[in-house]
């Protein structure tokens, strides 16, 4: 209470000190005059009376100073003085301070970089959207399964139910989560553009108004008679139309149908889903034009809509969630076949969809922890350096304290200095973070259609400021407290030579901590880098060289099956005729991508319950030869078998063969598919590969024909696949000028996708490990070198008394060795625990891999020994005569 009142007075003082000071001056002046008058009346001469009055009144300056301290927190002048003095002290030792700043800047920079991703993914609200706090995202959740696979987007009928019945929400909007690719017929040539199908209330609920024309309204989005209209994104309008204001009212031919441009969205608005940047928006109910799926709007099994609602005023998220549960239960009763066991979960609307946030959090959390440790090492470094320097400044502190500086005043001075260092480092850190974030975005494989904005906005800057201040306090506090606890008398009498037992013990603890942290980081980093190397060498079961791929979808143009087949036949003929092409084929999708098809299979006439789940790949003849998948038995499918499902022929992999026909030859056996009447004949068995992820256990797989219109073209060449990409683009254009090949890439580029998590982790952890070792080595070197310089006198005495050079060497090295060994011990134990957390990310390597731990221990010992050896050598070269004379 007392403190509160004082603070209140001080806060008041901030605003009215001018008048108050003036009044006090007047009061004091009157007081002095009255005293003077009294002395004069007692018969004193005027001058003596003035002096006597002053004497009786006491120290005027001190009084004013005290008063200032009472009414004010700190005077700006004083702080400015501290800062100026601090800058002078820093500039006095530019070398060592630059080292501290660099170390801290690296630490702060890495943390800021990771945080800028956390901000971009989890904190930043979607740009250009009104009151994002009232928006809730809704996901369907299957009670019978767990993990991210248990969450589903909405079907259109489910969405319509929630939209029409909610009392909690002002409105419920929906849009297609995967986005919609469309082929834009631009004067006879096809061009693929990205769209997003949105409900009629999408723009109004988000509070987004058109920059030009109007946005999509409910009237545009009527079930049964949708209007063929689109809203263009601002950047698309700028890029493709040169910001032509006459765009509104024009017609775009998308997938062969006419759409009228009704407006342009405001700049910066890109919807509310992370990493998507639509070129246009079209009404949901117009989906058939894009997907050619007649039943999608009626289907209770087609989950494709991301749904969000805006809460009414005065309603909270708990009430909204309750309503969602009620709706889910009601739908589960009404439609048990599709909605049984389906619940609805509401999340605050953010750029990353609710169910995925936990993974993003875990991933970024790991890196925050790792770079937090790096920053801690940098702090320890800075602290031990400042401690060493504080010992050098004992004399200065003693003089200050003798002149009347209070303990608080001295601590403040020291803290201002460390805060100055950390602020400079923070500034440099922001620049570094900007650069690192750009570098990390480069790691995103081109096959991922991600356009991620990682802005350095106020949240990131606030984070950096906080981290810098905390850093400055953390590494500055101990040296500050230490230096303020100076005993003036002995320090002024004679500078003592010994560093003091207590001080060096604290430094030792810091160094041990630093080395232990370094071991943890280095062990984790080495594990990740080694696992990355393993992952690179894992055999995916197909060749990862000399293959070109491209995806095609003539279905978007609404072609008939005959026309699609003709297109693919012609294209294949032309592709096979290209120079250097040795094989080519189509598949619905490639292994290790994002797509997956699953079914169940078993022996002929086996019960439904005996069927085992398998992954299905739909392929054309030559697929295996093109990808270099080896046949163990039997033959490839023929074109006839691929085109006609009734021909009933499949190829299986060895895993399925062993599971269903152990010890038998599966070729010639018949295989039954769950939910299908006809059985198929197994005509071949191929070697197993990796299908879902590189780290998986072998999975049973069936290869069969009947490809849909959307296909991936795979081409094998005898040389470099890169020049082939341009040729394929050209051939597609020749066969059909309206068709466009997308995702043209070499197999190496394709493989960047499955390797992406391991590569990013490896890159970041590798960087952290290298940083940690460098910082630790610098820290150890700095401290040992300082200790040696402090002990020059002592070493001189020892040598004068007959110590040999090797003894001196041993003396210095022993100190370094001690911290290293203790630090290693603690660090290895901690590393074992930390590595266990990492194990899900590791490929083909145990979390407690002894070779890694031994290697880290050996490497770190070597580095620390080198860091000790250099100063030790200097100690050996001490000339006793010089060292003693110096005294």
């Amino acid at each position: 209470m007392r403190i509160l009142r004082e603070w209140a007075a001080k806060t008041q003082g901030l605003f009215m000190h001018g008048r108050e000071d003036h009044e006090l001056d007047a009061e004091i002046h009157d007081h002095l005059e009255l005293l003077q008058e009294r002395y004069r009346r007692q018969g004193m001469p005027a001058q003596d009376a003035a002096v006597a009055a002053r004497r009786q009144f006491g120290n005027l300056t001190l009084l004013k100073e005290r008063r200032r301290a009472q009414v004010r927190f700190l005077s700006p002048g004083e702080i400015w003085g501290d800062i100026r003095f601090g800058m002078r002290m820093i500039l006095k030792k530019p070398g060592s301070n630059a080292a501290v700043v660099l170390a801290l800047a690296l630490g702060i920079g890495m943390n800021t970089a990771v945080f800028s991703f956390v901000n971009a993914l989890l904190l930043r609200p979607p740009a250009g959207v009104r009151a994002t706090g009232d928006l809730l995202e809704i996901w369907l959740h299957s009670r019978t399964s767990s993990g991210v696979q248990s969450y589903f987007p909405f079907t259109y009928p489910d969405y319509a139910y929630y939209r029409d019945h909610s009392r909690i929400f002002e409105g419920v909007l929906g849009f297609d989560g995967d986005g919609t690719r469309a082929i834009w017929n631009r004067s006879g040539e096809g061009q693929v553009i990205q769209g997003q199908l949105v409900s009629g209330n999408f723009f109004s609920l988000l509070g987004v108004n058109a920059a030009l024309g109007r946005v999509i309204s409910n009237a545009d989005d009527q079930l049964g008679h949708p209007r063929a209209v689109v809203v263009l994104s601002h950047s698309f309008w700028q890029r493709q139309w040169g910001s032509d204001p006459a765009i509104v009212g024009r017609t775009l031919v998308l997938n062969g149908a006419d759409f009228m441009v009704i407006g342009v969205a405001p700049a910066g608005f890109a919807g509310i889903l992370v990493a998507t940047e639509p070129d246009f928006w079209a009404p949901l109910t117009a989906q058939e034009q894009f997907t050619h799926d007649k039943d999608r709007l009626d289907s209770r099994h087609s989950n494709w809509l991301i749904v969000a609602g805006r809460m009414r005023i005065g309603v909270n998220a708990v009430q909204a969630q309750a309503e969602m549960h009620v709706f889910a239960d009601r739908l589960a009763q009404e439609h048990p076949d599709s909605n049984k066991e389906l619940d609805a979960i509401a999340y605050p609307a953010k750029l990353v969809p609710g169910p995925y946030r936990v993974y993003v959090r875990a991933f970024t959390g790991l890196f925050m922890a790792v770079f937090g440790l790096v920053l801690l090492i940098a702090c320890t470094n800075a602290a031990s350096l400042l401690l060493a320097r504080a010992a050098n400044r004992t004399r200065e502190m003693a003089i200050r304290s003798a002149l009347g500086a209070g303990r608080g005043r001295m601590i403040r001075q020291m803290l201002v200095e460390s805060l100055l260092l950390s602020s400079i480092a923070g500034g440099a850190g922001v620049l570094l973070a900007w650069w690192i974030a750009r570098l990390l975005l480069e790691l995103v494989p081109p096959s991922l259609p991600i356009t991620l904005e990682v802005p350095l906005d106020w949240r990131v800057l606030l984070f950096t400021v906080l981290v810098s201040v905390v850093t400055g306090l953390v590494f500055g506090m101990v040296p500050a407290l230490r230096s303020a606890r100076v005993d003036a008398a002995p320090a002024l009498k004679e500078e003592t030579r010994s560093a003091g037992v207590r001080k060096s013990r604290l430094r030792t603890v810091l160094l041990i901590g630093e080395i232990a942290t370094c071991v943890v980081l280095l062990a984790c980093a080495t594990l990740c880098v080694r696992s990355l190397m393993h992952a690179n060498s894992i055999d995916p079961g197909f060749d990862t060289r000399n293959i070109a791929i491209a995806t095609l979808d003539p279905g978007t143009l609404g072609y008939s099956p005959q026309k699609v087949a003709a297109f693919y036949r012609q294209l294949m003929e032309r592709v096979r005729a290209l120079p250097n092409v040795t094989a080519a084929s189509y598949t619905k999708h490639l292994p290790l991508g994002t797509s997956r098809e699953q079914t169940t299979v078993g022996k002929d006439r086996s019960k439904e319950s005996d069927l085992i789940p398998v992954d299905v790949f739909r392929v054309n003849p030559g697929y295996f030869a093109t990808l270099g998948v080896r046949f163990l038995r039997g033959r490839d499918l023929t074109q006839k078998e691929c085109d006609d499902e009734a021909a009933g022929a499949v190829v299986i992999n060895e895993v399925l063969a062993r599971k269903v026909w152990p010890g038998q030859d599966p070729v010639g056996q018949r295989i039954a598919f769950g939910g299908e009447k006809n059985t198929s004949e197994v005509v071949g068995v191929v070697k197993a590969g990796k299908y879902r992820s590189l780290g998986e256990e072998p999975i049973p797989v069936v290869f069969r024909g009947s490809l849909p219109p959307a296909r991936t073209l795979v081409i094998r060449t005898s040389g470099d696949a890169r020049p082939l990409l341009e040729a394929v683009r050209r051939e597609v254009h020749v066969v059909d000028p309206m068709m466009v090949a997308t995702d043209l890439q070499t197999i190496e580029e394709y493989m960047a996708f499955p390797l992406f998590p391991a590569r990013t982790t490896g890159f970041l952890l590798g960087a952290s490990g290298i940083l940690a070792v460098a910082l630790t080595a610098i820290g150890l070197f700095g401290v040992i070198a300082y200790v040696v310089s402090q002990r020059t006198h002592e070493i001189g005495v020892r040598m004068a008394l007959g110590a040999r050079r090797t003894d001196v060497m041993r003396l210095v090295m022993r100190q370094g060795l001690y911290v290293t060994v203790v630090g290693l011990g603690i660090g290895l134990a901690a590393a074992c625990a930390a590595a266990r957390l990492l194990s899900p990310l590791l490929y083909g390597i145990g979390a407690n891999d002894p070779a890694t731990l031994a290697g880290v221990a050996a490497g770190l010992t070597a580095v620390t020994m080198l860091a000790c050896y250099l100063p030790a050598r200097r100690a050996m070269q001490v000339d006793p005569a010089v060292a003693l004379r110096y005294e």
Binding site: R5, E6, A9, E27, I28, L63, Q70
Partner: protein, 114 residues
Amino acid sequence: MVDKKSDVLQGTLDLMVLKTLHALGPLHGFGIARRIEQISDDVLQLNEGTVYTSLLRLQQQGWIASSWGVSENNRKARFYSITRQGLKQLALETENWERIAGVIGRVLRLEREG
């Protein structure tokens, strides 16, 4: 050591100022200094400036209030008066002081007897 001594003195001065205002009613700084000088019979060597430090402190605590008025010799002066809260505090501190003085007195007597 030096710090502790001044602490005691500080508290004592606050108490004396409070009591003075309680006993004599609203007074200006000069008047308070005169009163303390008079009562202490020169036993207490007081830098009169510290009276103002004390006044400010008391004011910040809300134990006294101040207002501008005209002094007996027609000068504009700031008059300080004790507040309701200050009265409470004075009672508390007086009791405190007497208790401590009593204890110290007893201790000193004990020593003389022993």
